[in-house]
């Protein structure tokens, strides 16, 4: 997960002295050939779309195309910043991602610690296998299950309420419940899979440390505090930084599937706004401007997080 760019690599220089162009090709030609399809694919599907970002500053028309449309400067950015929904959308994006970081980051760690203290191996394996399962199921299925459970007309929870003579509630239409729905459904889907990496880190802790702690008469809590947690601290650190880096990248699929028109005020995020304006209302240029705003802010976040963490904890993504 840690991608490290090597600095001061002067092997190129060294080789230039040793081999002619022909020599390089004879020695490395096959590898360049292997890289060729990848270079082409990244050019077409990654770099070419980046040139399309210019329509964020243009009045894009299908007839004139990306390059031929007229420049309009920062109009769309001004439009977006003065959009009555701008504040809501930005707030929702941040609230949802911070809540996820706050609640979903510790959850797999706690699960891993719990699983790790189960002695009965078949029991542990069964729970593990079950808990990984939702990760492999489509969000569209998860959303269907949520609708099935919480729907006012045909839902399990409201069935139970009717049995007790209570009124039905349209849970997914409640604004105050949207955030819990998003956080909890994501937790349900990801907690088991997220724990894999911590379980591996836990099993790498030297058992002699626990033995020594036992001799010293340390209790379970102290062992947790002084052996277990320090043992998985590097893993926690790297994953935390990865999570921070993706802070502004919300799961569009999930939000799209869980939001209802009643909850737009708290559920509309940058991604869904881009999708709505761009693909449903055909405002390509405006939506691209919003997308660029999002990309730049999140790139900035990643770079800052990486810088800070390298300084403070000597952990970095690159």
């Amino acid at each position: 997960m840690r991608l490290k760019r090597r600095r001061g690599n002067n092997s190129t220089l060294f080789l230039k002295r040793k081999y002619s162009f022909r020599g390089v090709m004879r020695r490395y030609g096959a590898f360049y050939l292997f890289l060729l399809p990848a270079l082409a694919w990244f050019a077409i599907f990654q770099y070419y779309p980046i040139t399309g970002i210019q329509i964020a500053f243009k009045n894009y028309r299908f007839s004139t195309g990306i390059w031929g449309s007229d420049w309009v400067g920062l109009r769309y950015f001004r439009d977006f910043l003065s959009d009555p929904h701008f504040y809501n959308i930005l707030r929702n994006s941040l609230v949802i991602s911070f809540s996820k970081l706050f609640f979903l980051f510790p959850a797999p760690i706690i699960l891993a610690l719990m699983l790790n203290s189960v002695k009965n191996v078949p029991y542990r394996r069964t729970v593990q296998t079950l808990s990984y399962l939702p990760h492999f199921v489509s969000w569209v299925v998860v959303a269907a299950l949520i609708h099935k459970f919480f729907s006012p007309t045909i839902g399990l929870i409201n069935d139970l309420r009717i049995d007790r003579g209570l009124d039905t509630i349209y849970y997914l239409g409640r604004r105050e419940l949207f955030l819990p729905f998003v956080v909890l459904s994501d937790m349900w889907k990801g907690i088991g899979f997220g724990s894999i990496i911590y379980l591996a880190a836990l099993s790498g802790i030297d058992p002699n440390l626990y033995e020594a702690a036992n001799i010293d008469g340390a209790n379970g809590f102290r062992k947790l505090l002084h052996i277990t947690l320090p043992g998985i601290k590097p893993t926690i650190g790297i994953l935390f930084i990865l999570n921070l880096g993706g802070l502004l990248a919300n799961n569009m699929e999930q939000i799209l599937l869980l939001q209802t028109p009643n909850t737009y005020e708290v559920s509309e995020i940058l991604e869904t706004f881009i999708l709505r304006r761009g693909l449903r209302m055909n405002q390509f240029d405006y939506a691209t401007a919003v997308g660029l705003f999002r990309s730049v802010v999140s790139l900035f976040l990643i770079v800052v997080v990486n810088k800070v963490s390298r300084k403070l904890a000597d952990v970095s993504l690159w």
């Binding site: 230039k16 599907f45 069964t126 489509s138 626990y210 691209t288």
Partner: protein, 320 residues
């Protein structure tokens, strides 16, 4: 062996327990086991609930009260689901896109990973930065959409495959694994006059089956589950929709009805559509049958592949 046993013995005591076989320790264990049991139930029950509803007669299920077992068992929902005009084409598309994506993606991504193992390749760091940069900054949804339109990929089967062939992250996983294969194997093959392509096919790939299986699983599941591409990029060709998109279409239609009528029992639309489809099947029971059909392959296959994806996750997390 001895060491392992010691490890097994002590690893548990470090976690949430409180001392050795003391009463608080036992209480802690009971709480722990119970919570994990609840988690297991919470994970499994929603699927089980959908399963029993798919086996229950639709009109009967409308009355509610089905929690543990189906009340009026029938296969009518599945029979109706299989009569849906798009069911076979959509599952055909799902299978096809999954297979084609897995094969192409595994081949090209592993080849990229192999090429990146060559540490002294002239220009290597520049090339890797070229790939890496795209994980930091990309065109975004709309520019991608415009490019797909220019390439004629909209409403075209290849939209499911081509944009997802490469993943820098998966290539790194391959590279990390390739590094663990002794370089002397490649060297001796090279001395014997093996071409690089042959080394890749005859030595590297056969030794990388665990990581190939892991990546194949991730790519395959991603393809099988993807509904977004079908809904937004293949909107005009329903016959090219994968099963996940079909399910999304069916569900969002139902969700719309609920929105129209959030308080009363059964909406008119639902009753109307129920009559159109069949006497006993409702859109709801049909939805559950579709959901089970879409989920079943994953649920059935995945326990067998578990050790591979665990491996894949771990390789991915190893620092270079």
């Amino acid at each position: 062996m001895k060491r392992d046993r010691k490890k097994e013995k002590y690893r548990y005591e470090g976690s949430l327990s409180l001392g050795k076989a003391s009463t608080p320790y036992k209480i802690g264990q009971v709480i722990n086991y119970t919570l994990l049991l609840l988690l297991g139930i919470a994970t499994l029950y929603p699927f089980y609930y959908a399963f029993i509803l798919s086996l229950n007669e639709g009109q009967d299920a409308m009355r509610g009260g089905i929690y543990l077992l189906p009340r009026v068992v029938t296969l009518e929902n599945f029979r109706q689901a299989l009569r849906h005009p798009l069911i076979f084409s959509s599952f055909g598309i799902s299978v096809a896109r999954t297979l084609v994506s897995v094969i192409l993606s595994c081949f090209f991504t592993s080849l990229l990973g192999y090429a990146m193992t060559k540490r002294d390749l002239p220009g290597r760091s520049l090339i890797i930065f070229y790939f890496f940069f795209t994980t930091l900054f990309s065109g975004g949804l709309i520019p991608n959409f415009i490019v797909y339109r220019q390439l004629g990929l909209l409403n075209n089967f290849w939209i499911y495959v081509l944009p997802g062939i490469y993943s820098f992250f998966n290539a790194i996983i391959f590279r990390t694994f390739f590094y663990s294969i002794p370089a002397s194997l490649q060297e001796s093959a090279r001395i014997d006059g093996c071409s690089e392509l042959k080394i890749y096919f005859r030595i590297m790939l056969p030794l990388s089956l665990p990581v190939l299986a892991a990546i194949a699983l991730f790519v395959g599941v991603g393809n099988w589950n993807d509904w977004f591409t079908g809904t937004y990029f293949v909107s005009r060709r329903r016959d090219l929709w994968p099963a996940a998109t079909l399910l999304h279409d069916i569900i969002s239609a139902a969700a719309f009805e609920i929105r129209l009528d959030p308080t009363t029992g059964i909406s008119h639309d639902q009753q109307q559509r129920a009559r159109e489809i069949a006497e006993t099947t409702t859109p709801e029971s049909l939805k559950m049958a579709f959901l089970i059909l879409l989920t079943a392959p994953i649920v059935l296959i995945y326990p067998f592949l578990q050790k591979y994806f665990v491996k894949g996750v771990l390789i991915g997390s190893i620092k270079e």
